[in-house]
Amino acid sequence: MNCLRFAVLTAFTLSVASHATLATPPDVSPVIVIQNATILTVTKGTIERGSILIKDGKISEVGPSVKAPKDAMVIDAEGKFVTPGIIDCHSHIAIDGSVNEGSISVSSIANTAEVLNSDDVDIYRDLAGGVTTANILHGSANSIGGQTVVIKLRWSQPAARLPFEGALPGIKFALGENPKRSNFSIPGQPKRYPATRMGVEETIRGAFTEARDYKHSWDAYNKKIAAGDKSALPPRRDLRLDPLVEVLEGKRYVHSHCYREDEILMLLRVAKEFGFKVRTFQHILEGYKVADELASAGVGASTFSDWWAYKVEAYDAIPYNAALMTKRGVLVSINSDDAEEATHLNQEAAKSMKFGGLTHDEALKLVTINPAMQLGIDKRVGSIEVGKDADLVIYNHDPLSAYAVVQKTLVDGRVLFDRDKDIAGRAALEKEKNDLIAKEKAAAKKSEEKKGEQPKKPEEKPKPPSSDRAAAPANGGAQ
C-alpha cells in the first residue's frame, strides 16, 4: 500500500509540476504582462484596469499601461483582481513529520529548516489559496521551542530552494496552557516543569541567563583571540544556547505563541531584562486587552480571525481582536496555523471589516504587507511595487469576499498555480492513478497466486490534529 501511495503521489507531484512550468524552462524567468486587472497594490492604492509587467521574477512596471515586449506572455485579467501574494505568518506546512520536539521545555536545538519537505501537497493547496510565503514554525509544546524558517511556496522545487533568501530566521516561544501542559498529561510520567505560567517565565529567564553567560564567555574568548592570544581555549559549544545568543544579538526573531494578557506583558518584561526584542506574538487572542502596551513596545501581533472557546485561554477571544489592535497602533496580521485555514486567509482578513470596521485596505494588509513587515521581508514582498518580487494572486472577485476564487498564483514571476490548468489536467491524473492502481492490483494478484495468500486491503489513515484548533493535546500542544 505504501508503495502504491508513493507511486501515485509521485506521479501527481510530477504532473502538477509539469503543468506549472510548461511554458518556461526551469532556469529562465518568463516575461509576463498581466492586463486589464483591478490591481490592489496594498501600499499605493488601487489601479482600475491596470497592467503589471514582470521581468526576471520581479515586478518591473505597474500602472494603467505598461511597455510590454512583443514576446511577453500575456495574462488577460479582465474583470479580475490582482493582489500581492498572501503571507502566512504562522504555518506548519512542509514539515516532515512532527512539529513538536515535546520532550524538553527548552528545545532551541531543533530546527524546522532542517526538516523541510518540498513534496508536502499542502504547499500546492496553499498556493491554490493564494499563499506565496509562509513562516514555518515549531509547535508550542515548549516554553522555548525550535528554530523557525520563512519559506516561499516554490512548489516543484527541491527543499533547499524553499527558504526565503535573506529572511532572518526565528525561534518559537510558547506561553500558557500548551507549555504548561494544562490539557493533557502523559500517563506514567511525572508532570513536567513548568506546570504554571510562573514556571514558564522562569524557564525562559533561566535559559537566557545561561545564554548571556555563554555569550560572555565567547565574547571574552574572541577578545583574547583578537588580541593575539593563541593559547586561549574556546568555550564548549552549546547548540541549545547558540540560537538564544542570536536572539540577544538581534540576529534571530522571537515569535511567541501566547493567549492571555498577563503572559504577554510577562514576556515583554523578560525581553527587556535581557535586552532582546520580541518580534511577534502569535495567536495573541487577548492582545486587544493590552494593545497600547504592544504598540509602545513596537511588537507585532499575528492572530486568528474568529477562533474561540476551544480552551480556557481562548474564552475571551473576540473576532474584533485584529481591528482593535490595528486601531490602537499595533502591526497586526492574520495567520492560519493550519494548512486548510491558509487556503482562505483573504476571507479571514475580510472579517475584520465586519468586526471592528477596518477599511478594505487595512483588512488586506493583514495578510500581505503587515506579515511581510513582521517577518522583515517587506522590501521584497507584501505589496505590488516596482522592484519587488513578482509574487501575485489573481482572483475572480474582490479578494475580501467569500465568493473570491484564486485563478492564478505567481511566485518569483512564475505561474505555480493555474486553476484552469489544474482542472484541465485532472482527467489525465485520474487515468494515471487508475492505471497505477490496476498495475499494482495485477502485480498483487500475481504474487497472491504465487504465495496463495490474501493481499491486505488499503486502510484509512486519520490525520492527527496538527493545529491549535485541536486544543493542544493532540500533538503535545501544537501551536
Binding site: Y124, A350, M353, E460, P462, A471
Partner: protein, 442 residues
C-alpha cells in the same frame, strides 16, 4: 467615517431594543415594511411587508395591511431572509472544548439511544448569543457528533438530536422539537489512530480493526432487532409484568420509521455499508458528514437519502484528490439530484456556516441552492419545514434583516427576530470589544 456613524447608529438601535430581547412572552406585533423579502418559497418580493404576530409569521407579501398597534420597522434598503439553520452542532452542549466539566456532548459507552441533547443544552451558553449574531436562528444539537471536544471515541448509538431556536429563558422556550433524529456513528474499519498517551500515531493490524468493526456492526444489528421485538411487544400491549427498557423504548420510533437515523459516515465504503444497513433494517436514513458522498451519489439519489455535509472549507481526504474536492462537492451533488444541507459540525465555528455556503456557491453551486442549503434544506431534511426554513405564514418567526447577502463575510445583521421577538445581537464578544475599546489610552 459615515460607515462608522451607521454602525454607531445601528448599535444604539439594537441597544434600545435589547430590552425586548431574549424570549417570547408578550404578544408583540411587528411589521417590516418596504424591504426586499427573500421568502425562499416562491419569488422574491422587491418591496414587501412581513408581519410577525404571536411569534409566528402572520403575513408576507407586496401589499399587506399593517395591523393596528404593530411596531413598524422601515426596511427600506434592507433584505429579509429566514434565519440560518445549522443542522449539526454541539450548541449548548459544550462551552470550552478543552474543559471536560463544560462539555456534555458525548456520553461514554457505545450504545446510548436514550440520551437526549435537549436535556443538557445550557440556555446560558455564551455560544448562543455569539452564534445568533451571525444570523443563525435555529440549530440541531447533536450528541456524539464530534467537534473540538471529541477527544475519545464516539458512541455507535449516540443519542437523540434536538432542534431549538437560539433565544429563550429555558430549553422549553427554545425547543422546536426534542427528538429529531437518532445519532448513529456508523462502524468503520480504523487501523490507525492517534494515541494521546504517547502523542504518537498508533497502528493496529487490519484483521483486528475489521474484527472490531464487525463486532460493532453485529451489536448495532442486535440493538435494532431487539428494538423491533420490543416495539412489537409494546404495540400489542404486552404482559402486565413487561419490563420497561428505556434504551429499547428510545429505539422504538426508529424501527417504526417515525424517527430518522442521522448516520455519520464520510468514506464511500462506510456510506455504502450504512445505506445497505438502513435499507435492510428499513430505517429512515439521513447521512451526516458525507465527505465522499460524491462517490456514491447515484446510490444516494436512488435511495433518496439526504446528506448534511460537513463544512466545505476543508482539505481533501486524499493527497491526490483535487485541491477543491470538498468545495466543489455540493455543486456535484446538486447536479446529481442528491438532496443536501451544509452544517458547521461545530460550536465555536458555527458562525462560519454562511461562509461555507458562499464558498460552495463560489465553486459552482447556484446561489439559490447555497442559501437554501443553510435554511430550507436542513429544515426539510430534518422534517421541520412546517415550522422553519422559509418566510411563510404560520411558520416560527425566525427572521433576519440584513444590509446584504447573509452568506457574505462583510454583511451586517440589522434586526434579528427569534420566535417573533426582536432579539438583541449583543454577545460576549461585542461586550469585550466595547469594554476594551473604551480602555483609556495608557
Amino acid at each position: 467615517m459615515p460607515r462608522q456613524l451607521v454602525i454607531v447608529a445601528s448599535l444604539a438601535l439594537l441597544a434600545s431594543v435589547s430590552a425586548y430581547a431574549q424570549t417570547p412572552q408578550a404578544a408583540t406585533t411587528y411589521a417590516i415594511t418596504h424591504a426586499k423579502i427573500f421568502t425562499l418559497a416562491g419569488s422574491t418580493i422587491d418591496d414587501g411587508t412581513l408581519v410577525i404576530q404571536d411569534g409566528k409569521i402572520a403575513a408576507v407579501g407586496a401589499s399587506i395591511e399593517i395591523p393596528a398597534g404593530a411596531q413598524v420597522i422601515d426596511g427600506k434598503g434592507l433584505q429579509v431572509y429566514p434565519g440560518l439553520f445549522d443542522a449539526v452542532t454541539q450548541m449548548g452542549l459544550s462551552e470550552i472544548g478543552a474543559v471536560s466539566a463544560t462539555v456534555d456532548s458525548s456520553e461514554t459507552g457505545n450504545f446510548n439511544p436514550d440520551v437526549v441533547a435537549a436535556s443538557a443544552v445550557s440556555p446560558s451558553s455564551e455560544h448562543i448569543p455569539v452564534t445568533r449574531a451571525s444570523g443563525i436562528t435555529e440549530v440541531l444539537a447533536v450528541p456524539a457528533s464530534g467537534g473540538f471536544d471529541s477527544s475519545g471515541s464516539r458512541a455507535v448509538l449516540g443519542g437523540q438530536a434536538s432542534a431549538f431556536s437560539l433565544a429563550g429563558w429555558t430549553m422549553d422556550d427554545m425547543q422546536i422539537k426534542r427528538s429529531v433524529a437518532m445519532v448513529v456513528n456508523f462502524p468503520t474499519i480504523q487501523t490507525r489512530s492517534f494515541d494521546f498517551a504517547t502523542l504518537s500515531r498508533k497502528e493496529r493490524p487490519y484483521a483486528e480493526a475489521k474484527q472490531e468493526f464487525e463486532k460493532n456492526l453485529n451489536e448495532l444489528t442486535d440493538w435494532i432487532d431487539r428494538a423491533r421485538h420490543y416495539a412489537q411487544a409494546i404495540g400489542h400491549g404486552g404482559p402486565s409484568d413487561f419490563e420497561r427498557d428505556v434504551k429499547l423504548e428510545a429505539l422504538a420510533p426508529v424501527v417504526r420509521g417515525q424517527l430518522p437515523v442521522l448516520v455519520f459516515a464520510d468514506r464511500a465504503r462506510d456510506i455504502r455499508n450504512a445505506v445497505e444497513f438502513c435499507d435492510k433494517q428499513k430505517l429512515k436514513m439521513i447521512l451526516a458528514g458525507g465527505q465522499e458522498a460524491y462517490k456514491v451519489k447515484d446510490l444516494l439519489r436512488s435511495k433518496n437519502i439526504p446528506v448534511i455535509l460537513r463544512p466545505v472549507l476543508a482539505l481533501p481526504l486524499e493527497e491526490d484528490d483535487p485541491y477543491d474536492r470538498l468545495l466543489s462537492q455540493p455543486a456535484e451533488l446538486a447536479q446529481a439530484g442528491v438532496r443536501f444541507a451544509i452544517g458547521s459540525f461545530d460550536n465555536s465555528f458555527a458562525r462560519r456556516l454562511g461562509q461555507n455556503a458562499a464558498n460552495a456557491s463560489a465553486h459552482g453551486l447556484s446561489y439559490d441552492d447555497a442559501l437554501k442549503s443553510v435554511t430550507l434544506y436542513p429544515a426539510q431534511i430534518l422534517g421541520l419545514a412546517d415550522q422553519v426554513g422559509t418566510l411563510e405564514t404560520g411558520k416560527i418567526a425566525n427572521v433576519i434583516v440584513t444590509n446584504g447577502d447573509p452568506l457574505e463575510l462583510t454583511t451586517d445583521l440589522k434586526y434579528l427576530f427569534i420566535k417573533g421577538q426582536l432579539t438583541s445581537t449583543d454577545n460576549r464578544h461585542k461586550r469585550l470589544f466595547e469594554k476594551y475599546s473604551n480602555r483609556p489610552k495608557s
